[in-house]
Amino acid sequence: MELRSRDDMVRMYRQMQRIRQFEEKVNQLFLEGRMPGTLHLYVGQEACAVGVCEALQPDDWITSTHRPHGHAIAKGVSLNSMMAELFAKTTGCCGGYGGSMHVGDPDVGSLTAIAIVGGSIPVASGMALGFKMRRTDQVVACFMGDGAVNEGAFHEGVNMAAIWDLPVVFVCENNRYGASTPVEQVVRLEKLSERAKGYGIPGITVDGMDVLAVHDAVAAAVERARFGGGPTFVECETYRYVGHSRTDTRGYRSREEEQEWKLRDPIPRLAAHLRDLGEATEDELRAIADEVAAELGEALRFAEDSPSPAPEDCLRNVFAEEVALR
């Protein structure tokens, strides 16, 4: 593991706290009936988004999935605009046109999330192709779940990135289940990263509950991509603590299995690491969590105070120019 500064690690800790607390807050708000729509929570997988995005530059891009909150926050989308989007307000990062499954902000390199499983993979390769043609040195990190590796779009998108040495890193968050279906029931391989062999690109599997391990692996892959070495497939072994979506009561897996994974929780794990190194005290870490809670309270007020779109705004933003639609 490379040496990291205290500031880097503390920032990763704060980012994971921001995602965890955001998800817990929006879950509560949903259960209270204060938000429309559906919800795919990222709780448990924070080390993946943070480890990846900390390895990217501000002008690099990510593509995301139907479970995008953590990715967007890690890449720098503000909690205000995230919360406002979930509240379907005009100040949301998609102006109320996208909702939970499409959060993102082009200003910080977070592509409006693509909620079709695997659908973002050819798009990510295309973005990387565009950056390569424009010689901008930008890199794309393409998030996907374990389910995506069985989509045809995965094959076509990864293969194109491979044959053209495109600057993209494919990040597969293997959280063990596609909705309720266990991954071992739908893939014959030991490790999903073995898929990479079929495309002639490097594939590695890392502990997705360890933010520093994810960061190390992805930083190397980003470096390789940026300097013309082509794509890498990084599998992060992780776990979502919650159901697939808001109605999922997780009857397909045991509470014991869940407890085992929670023992590996990435947030206390990094906290312990920081304390062991003498880089942060318990009080300092608690202060960070409190600051995040305050930031979240502010985001909630911002979202609630923001205006809703007019009903007829649904007729806008279909084309680049305003067209009279009915």
């Binding site: 891009w61 949301g92 990062c93 998609c94 102006g95 109320g96 046109y97 996208g98 499409h102 993102g104 902000d105 082009p106 592509l111 409006t112 693509i114 079709i116 659908g119 993979i121 050819p122 798009v123 990510a124 390769s125 295309g126 973005m127 990387a128 192709l129 565009g130 950056f131 043609m133 424009r134 930008q138 045809g152 779009a153 094959h155 076509e156 998108g157 293969n159 194109m160 044959i163 806008r316 933003n317 279909v318 084309f319 680049a320 120019e321 067209v323 639609l325």
Partner: protein, 347 residues
């Protein structure tokens, strides 16, 4: 005062499309071509020769050959467009658009909307359509599927002038545009020449021009019946109109040129004059473009209609192979003449 003379040259639709691409690639370095077999040395220059010779001028990085991966091609075009490029993507047959449907319908068409207007997908998808004795999976006219997708524009050039002008407009448009090109209208030469092709050669100005979207062209003026037709059907409608004129029946033939946006006003204006409408379409009948035009016109000009609107379309079957069956399947001059007589029965 005499009209200024415009210097023109004769060319086929394939040549006109190629010239549009060449001019736009010279004008804007963001424009590039991506597709199967489009730039391979010794290859065909795309299935119908449109990109022939472009790789020699612009290099194979800007005339980018892909694996056989239509979803990948469409997705790569979406992504490259999001990253600031202006891709012209290419599928060999419009039938293969179905392989790319998710990328076109869920991504290309919706990224702007889902982002609240913050993203643009300025891409062109070119697709050769039309029945040409290649049967059910290489002869479809799937335009109607795409007019049903909000966020996509759909252009259907039937002349060399329009092919060049519409493609240039499509490349410069900030929205995803599908350009349907009829295989019997290309005028492709040599090995890729089509049996039974109409291959209309048209005059194309030497000077720079574009053809705006949403402006229909009146191909023939008339006062008894309005015929709306696109692509190959324009020529069959014109042939029918000519035959009917010998009997003293005067048909106005309108070519919409773009289906989205659709110039309903030009059609409605014509129908207010003729009071009768026949729509000709190579797409299958049910849920098709012809039905959509009929609905628009009965809403806009019901009071003017003296007869029910007649659709002359392909039947609700896959495209057959046997030439005798295919000839029955695709609307022809006789079918259109019958359609016109049908609306004239209502006096």
């Amino acid at each position: 005062m005499s009209a200024p003379t415009i210097e023109t040259r004769s060319m086929t639709i394939a040549e006109a499309l190629r010239e549009a691409i060449r001019e736009e690639m010279r004008r804007d370095e963001r424009v590039f071509c991506i597709g199967e077999d489009i730039g391979i040395p010794g290859g065909f220059g795309g299935a119908f020769t449109v990109t022939l010779g472009l790789a020699e001028e612009f290099g194979r990085d800007r005339v980018l050959d892909t694996p056989i991966s239509e979803a990948g091609i469409a997705g790569a075009a979406v992504g490259a467009a999001l990253a600031g490029m202006r891709p012209i993507a290419d599928v060999q047959y419009a039938d293969f658009l179905f392989c790319a449907m998710d990328q076109l319908v869920n991504m290309a068409a919706k990224m702007r909307y889902m982002s609240g207007g913050r993203l643009s997908v300025p891409m062109v998808m070119r697709a050769p359509c039309g029945a040409t004795t290649r049967a059910a999976q290489h002869g479809q006219s799937p335009e109607s599927f795409f007019i049903h997708v909000p966020g996509l524009k759909v252009a259907c050039p039937s002349t060399a002038y329009d092919a060049k002008g519409l493609l240039k407009t499509a490349i410069r448009d900030d929205n995803p545009v599908l350009l349907f090109e009829h295989k019997l209208l290309y005028g492709s030469k040599g090995m890729r020449a089509e049996k039974g092709a109409l291959s209309p050669v048209g005059e194309v100005p030497v000077a720079e021009y574009t053809v705006p979207f949403g402006q229909a062209a009146v191909r023939r003026e008339g006062c008894d019946v309005t015929i709306v037709a696109k692509l190959l059907m324009v020529y069959r409608a014109l042939a029918a109109a000519k035959r009917l004129a010998e009997e003293g029946i005067s048909c106005e033939v309108i070519d919409p040129r773009t289906l989205v946006p659709f110039d309903v006003e030009t059609v409605a204006h014509s129908v207010r004059k003729t009071e009768r409408l026949v729509i000709v379409d190579e797409c299958p009948r049910t849920g098709g473009w012809a039905g959509e035009v009929a609905a628009e016109i009965q809403e806009k000009a019901f009071g003017c209609l003296d007869a029910p609107i007649v659709r002359v379309t392909a039947p609700d079957t896959p495209v057959p192979f046997a030439p005798v069956m295919e000839r029955y399947y695709v609307p022809d001059e006789d079918d259109i003449v019958r359609g016109v007589r049908e609306v004239l029965r209502w006096r």
